[in-house]
């Protein structure tokens, strides 16, 4: 399997940062996932060879980190924080609203593959609660109306 030029470059630079090859593993897995959408068997095989580990050892690492996944998610991944600071400011309603509006359950993806909703742990937006991440972007001080606007604008964007 060939990595994209960008990934190749990142890998080549990163291996020089550490005394052991496997030290690049956690960030590299995340960067690979960003490009492929998920950690495919092929990708795990490739990175295992590069850092001189067995595939099993790589999978053992993958299963530990909550952001790493071996299944695809929607193009727009709504990661709604429901931890305490968000809970105090109505996160349950926000989470319910997202699921209802998109017609999916927790960790579900819409049939068109566009949206996923996921309940996540604290994302470090406690003073601006309730909050969520849309892929890597923070959305804070949420209201059901803001969620509606966000989903509607993304749907509109996809229709164009």
């Amino acid at each position: 399997m060939k990595f994209s030029d960008q990934l190749e470059q990142r890998f080549a630079t990163m291996v020089t940062h550490y005394p052991t090859k496997r030290s690049v593993l956690v960030p590299m897995l995340l960067y690979i996932q960003d490009e492929l959408g998920t950690l495919t068997d092929e990708a795990i095989h490739e990175i295992a060879q590069r850092v001189e580990l067995s595939e099993l050892e790589v999978r053992n690492v993958v299963s530990y980190y909550s952001m790493l996944r071996t299944h695809p998610v929607g193009k727009y991944n709504f990661q709604v924080c429901t931890n305490v600071s968000c809970l105090l400011r109505g996160a349950d309603d926000i989470f319910e609203h997202c699921k209802k509006k998109l017609g999916i359950a927790n960790k579900g993806t819409t049939p068109d593959g566009l949206f996923t909703v996921e309940e996540v742990e604290c994302i470090g937006a406690c003073s601006w609660a309730p909050a969520m991440m849309l892929n890597y972007d923070f959305h804070e001080n949420l209201t059901p109306e803001k969620i509606d606007q966000l989903i509607d604008s993304l749907k509109k964007k996809e229709q164009q």
Partner: protein, 435 residues
């Protein structure tokens, strides 16, 4: 994006460049950037450590260990390379301060790491950020690249003959990696399972070499200490608790936000003056003063100075600086369930008391909150929590147990209100209000 707040009682040290464009290196230099590093390059390593000792700076990640002392544990001579590791895996619920430092003042973290490296004679520093903070990783990578381009990092920095490298490293979602030995495992490309201690990281750390691990806020304080002097920094705070602290105010407050206040600032004032008090119509029920892992304080226990020692005396901990204010409309059983759900999810499963304890506590709380609780559940919960305390490799077990014990001690009647088929009284209120 996270907006900034301000209050006249604030003493801005770590946050003094927030909102001033200091991500730009030239702007950072205008605002006294890299002056502390240049000063440190003229100092003996021991003199740097003594200055930090004199500042009474204590670890801002949560444990409050004296930073200068931590640095002094690193052996002067070592056959293996020494490392400095900045812990930016901020994930304690209620905590959102390191995020602002990385976003607004990335070079101050780099400078702090470099000064720490000079103090312990290390040539390599790593800045580990949680994977969710992708935009901050980009900011940090750019800051590091800019500093390399000017010769502030790399070979022969500022013409001093000292070589020093700094690298940015991304995590991929794991609370437990915030624990220092788990952080090292993660950086080495493994599951973030904590190591048994001793040996401590200062002696055997990254790849077996002596390693200093400090929280991002701790390291960002260091350049200010070197420039202003340890004595000055110490004088800003309380006895044995030097300087200021970024307090993350959350909950139903009029003005939630991150405020930089002197160590020892009164908690009640922090809530009612600085944060503007409760949102109209809400009443305060309790406060979790240092991130979700610490004991709750009731509305009558808030007259406390927010420094490590005073909060401990008051029966809780200053922890990570995440002040979570709970209002009367929040059910304590539900709150306990959400806290336990978090620790159950984040437990790595290595230590049985933590893995099994958090799971049983969660199951009990789920049942209780949904109306299926029985009288002995309350004491069972307490028993489970008490038997996790001090029986795990890393503090995650304690972090899961301590809050639950305190909720039961201080709000037992709310747990009792959920027994024998009684539905959660708070959910009922919400339903009536909706109808």
């Amino acid at each position: 994006m996270a907006y900034l707040v301000s209050h006249p009682d604030e003493v801005k040290v770590v946050s003094k460049r927030f909102g001033k464009g200091a991500t730009d290196l030239d702007r950072y230099l205008e605002l006294d950037g890299y002056k502390a590093l240049q000063k440190a390059l003229t100092m003996q390593p021991d003199a740097i450590i003594n200055e930090v000792k004199a500042s009474n700076l204590r670890g801002r990640g949560g444990a409050g260990f004296p930073t200068g002392m931590k640095w002094s544990f690193v052996p002067k001579q070592s056959p293996k390379p020494k490392y400095v590791l900045c812990n930016g895996d901020e994930s304690e619920p209620g905590t959102c301060k390191d995020r602002l430092i990385f976003e607004h003042d990335p070079h101050s973290v780099i400078e702090g790491v470099m000064i720490a490296a000079l103090a312990v004679r290390s040539k390599t520093g790593y800045i580990y950020l949680r994977g969710e903070y992708r935009y901050l990783i980009q900011i940090m990578e750019k800051a590091v690249a800019d500093a390399y381009a000017r010769g502030f990092i790399g070979k022969n920095i500022f013409g001093s003959g000292v070589d020093l490298d700094i690298f940015v490293h991304s995590g991929a979602g794991a609370y437990e990696v915030g624990e220092e030995s788990a952080l090292m495992e993660s950086l080495e490309g493994k599951r973030g399972v904590p190591r048994i201690r001793p040996p401590f990281p200062a002696v055997v750390g990254l790849w077996g070499g002596p390693t200093v691990i400090n929280n991002a806020e701790t390291l960002a304080s260091v350049p200010h200490i070197i420039l202003g002097g340890g004595e000055w920094f110490a004088s800003l705070g309380a006895p044995k608790n030097g300087g200021t602290r970024l307090f993350c105010m959350s909950g139903e407050l009029e003005r939630p936000g991150v405020y930089e206040l002197p160590m020892g600032y009164n908690l009640k004032k922090m809530i009612y003056d600085v944060s503007g008090g409760m949102v109209k119509g809400k009443k305060l029920k309790g406060v979790v003063p240092g991130g979700s892992s610490v004991q709750i304080l009731t509305a009558d226990e808030l007259d406390v100075a927010m420094d490590f020692d005073s909060v401990l005396k008051a029966g809780s901990m200053l922890g990570s600086g995440g002040v979570i204010v709970i209002d009367e409309q929040m059910c304590i059983v539900k709150f306990a369930l959400r806290v336990t759900q978090f620790y159950q999810h984040e437990s790595c499963g290595w230590c049985i008391p933590c893995r099994e304890g958090t799971d049983w506590m969660k199951k009990t709380l789920v049942r209780m909150h949904s109306g299926g609780g029985v009288a002995k559940d309350i004491d069972n919960l307490k028993y489970l929590a008490e038997n996790m305390l001090g029986r795990t490799f890393c503090p995650l077990g304690d972090a899961a147990a301590m809050p639950i014990i305190s909720y039961i001690q201080k709000f037992r009647s709310e747990f009792e209100d959920h027994l024998n088929g009684k539905p959660c009284p708070y959910e009922k209120v919400a339903e009536v209000a909706l109808a």
